[in-house]
């Protein structure tokens, strides 16, 4: 194979690699549109092949549809498997859903430690409701060692993300902290991860 052909093939390979994400998103658009219109049967038919191919967003949506019985059989085991597939690809909302599933023992065996782990991953990506749950866990020592500073941090982060309950919930944590700890944690929380609602 001469150099010219090699260079051309390399160029085409690069173009294909750059185009793939755009193509993948474009392929999900009809599925997303069907989902938004509540045409769940159509959404499932469109999302499922993409989920099978490994698209995290599609896996998350298929998980949701099995969780709620939208266009698919209500099946918490199947939902948990799809959430896991997406969560392992760092899909933040899927990580939150998995945290809930381990918390409730739905589709998986109840495991508060694993619930906390997935809430932490989702929290680090700015999922406000995961931050609220994680903050509660640190306050009560559920699935994690009790830690008022961590509780205060995550509950403040949750409040900044719109879950204002966090402000009231962090009060017991503040009672176990020094003024310096509160000041430092408030400053740190200003930089806490946020995800658009």
């Amino acid at each position: 194979m001469n150099g010219w052909i090699r260079r051309r093939m390399a160029g085409w390979a690069c173009a294909a690699a750059l185009a793939w994400p755009v193509g993948a998103v474009a392929q999900l658009e009809p599925a997303r549109a069907a989902f938004e219109k509540e045409d769940y049967a159509a959404a499932y038919q469109l999302y499922k092949p993409e989920a099978d191919k490994g698209a995290a967003e599609a896996q998350y949506r298929v998980g949701l549809m099995h969780k709620f019985g939208w266009g698919a059989a209500r099946d918490h085991g199947a939902a948990a498997r799809w959430f896991m597939a997406a969560a392992e690809q760092s899909h933040a909302d899927a990580q939150f859903e998995l945290g809930i599933y381990y918390k409730d023992g739905r589709g998986v065996s109840k495991d508060m430690g694993k619930s906390a782990e997935w809430f932490l991953k989702a929290s680090e990506q700015g999922v406000g409701i995961a931050q609220l749950n994680l903050g509660r866990y640190f306050l009560a020592g559920t699935g994690v060692a009790k830690d008022p500073v961590a509780a205060y941090y995550w509950l403040t982060a949750a409040a900044q993300n719109g879950y204002i309950d966090g402000m009231a919930l962090r009060v017991p944590a503040a009672e176990e902290m020094t003024p310096e700890q509160i000041k430092e944690t408030n400053a740190r929380a200003k930089q806490a991860p946020r995800k658009a609602n």
Binding site: E38, F68, I100, I129, Y163
Partner: protein
């Protein structure tokens, strides 16, 4: 005997007092942090009493005969039963962890209590005072569990999901789950039973749902942190409280649009309407007050000071 007229007068006075306590329309305000309920005389918007109601009272509903008030008490994980004549707690029903909204079925036979940490709705038999059954919700952290006008369905808002669960009361199961906006909270049904309105706090939107199909038929932009819903008895207007704006939005049901916004106190939340529909009472959680709105003029007429962190107002119908 000379004392007889005195005792007769005393008996008559007591009967009259009891009649006043039971007959006058009263608005009950659950004050979360002060652990009591403020009683407002709806006729003249004055506070007539305050009584203890557990540690953290929130949702309330009355028995159909108006004699008892059922109040969810969050740390007690129970429903407190208050005798309204004496305004004293006379019993309780143990529930799961963190009960919140309490609603009565139209026939008065059942109460539906949303129990947050259990992810379930507990159904209490009002005749026996005991739980008949409970239904696990698909959504996470249920807040309100409201009967449809025909009593066939209970719509449940899940604070930590973006869904409303629809419970079929006869089969005691979740019939379907409706996708709405982020953080669904207050729910109200129109008097004809055809529509349900749900405020979604983090979406700043109100969702209108056709009850016959359980499908969303309109999404109405509301104020910031829209959360409480109250439907006017005439079925033409829905009120939505906007927690961050400190306002109440007025939705015209025919057009499903906000037609007016009324300034109230800080963090307005759950509301009630007087039985004649003339006045809307809005609990302002951060002002420790209740705003009263004239529903004909759509203007605030007064603010009434109540206890610490009022969660909501309830007026028996």
């Amino acid at each position: 005997m000379m004392l007889r007229p005195f005792f007769i007068a005393l008996l008559l006075a007591g009967a009259g007092f009891s009649a006043v306590v039971q007959a006058a329309p009263f608005a009950y305000v659950a004050n979360e942090k002060s652990g009591n309920i403020t009683v407002i005389d709806v006729a003249n918007d004055t506070v007539v009493a305050t009584f203890p109601a557990g540690k953290r009272p929130r949702g309330m509903t009355a028995s159909r005969d108006g004699k008892q008030l059922y109040v969810s008490d969050q740390p007690a994980n129970a429903l407190q039963i208050v005798d309204l004549a004496s305004r004293k707690i006379t019993g309780k029903v143990d529930l799961g962890e963190s009960p919140e909204g309490v609603y009565r079925s139209p026939d008065g036979k059942l109460l539906a209590v949303a129990v947050e940490e259990d992810n379930s709705v507990h159904f209490i038999n009002t005749a026996t005072g005991k739980r008949d059954f409970q239904v696990k919700t698909e959504g996470e952290n249920p807040e309100h569990a409201v009967f449809s006008r025909d009593g066939k369905w209970v719509y449940v808002s899940a604070e930590e999901s973006e869904v409303v669960d629809v419970i079929d009361v006869a089969t005691r199961k979740v019939h379907t789950t409706i996708k709405v906006g982020k953080r669904p909270r207050g729910i109200g049904f129109t008097p004809d039973g055809k529509l349900a309105y749900i405020a979604c706090e983090l979406a700043n939107r109100v969702y209108a749902i056709d009850v016959s199909s359980h499908k969303v038929v309109a999404v109405i932009p509301a104020g910031v942190r829209s959360n409480g819903i109250r439907v006017h008895p005439n079925g033409k207007t829905v009120f939505v409280s906007n927690g961050a704006d400190g306002t109440v939005g007025v939705i015209d049901v025919a057009s499903n649009k906000i037609t007016k916004t009324i300034k109230v106190g800080d963090r307005p939340w759950n509301m009630a309407i007087s039985p004649d529909g003339a006045k809307l009472y809005v609990a302002n959680g951060r002002s420790n007050s209740v705003s009263v709105i004239d529903t004909a003029k759509l203007e605030k007429t007064t603010d009434i000071t109540v206890g610490d962190t009022p969660w909501g107002v309830y007026i028996p119908d």
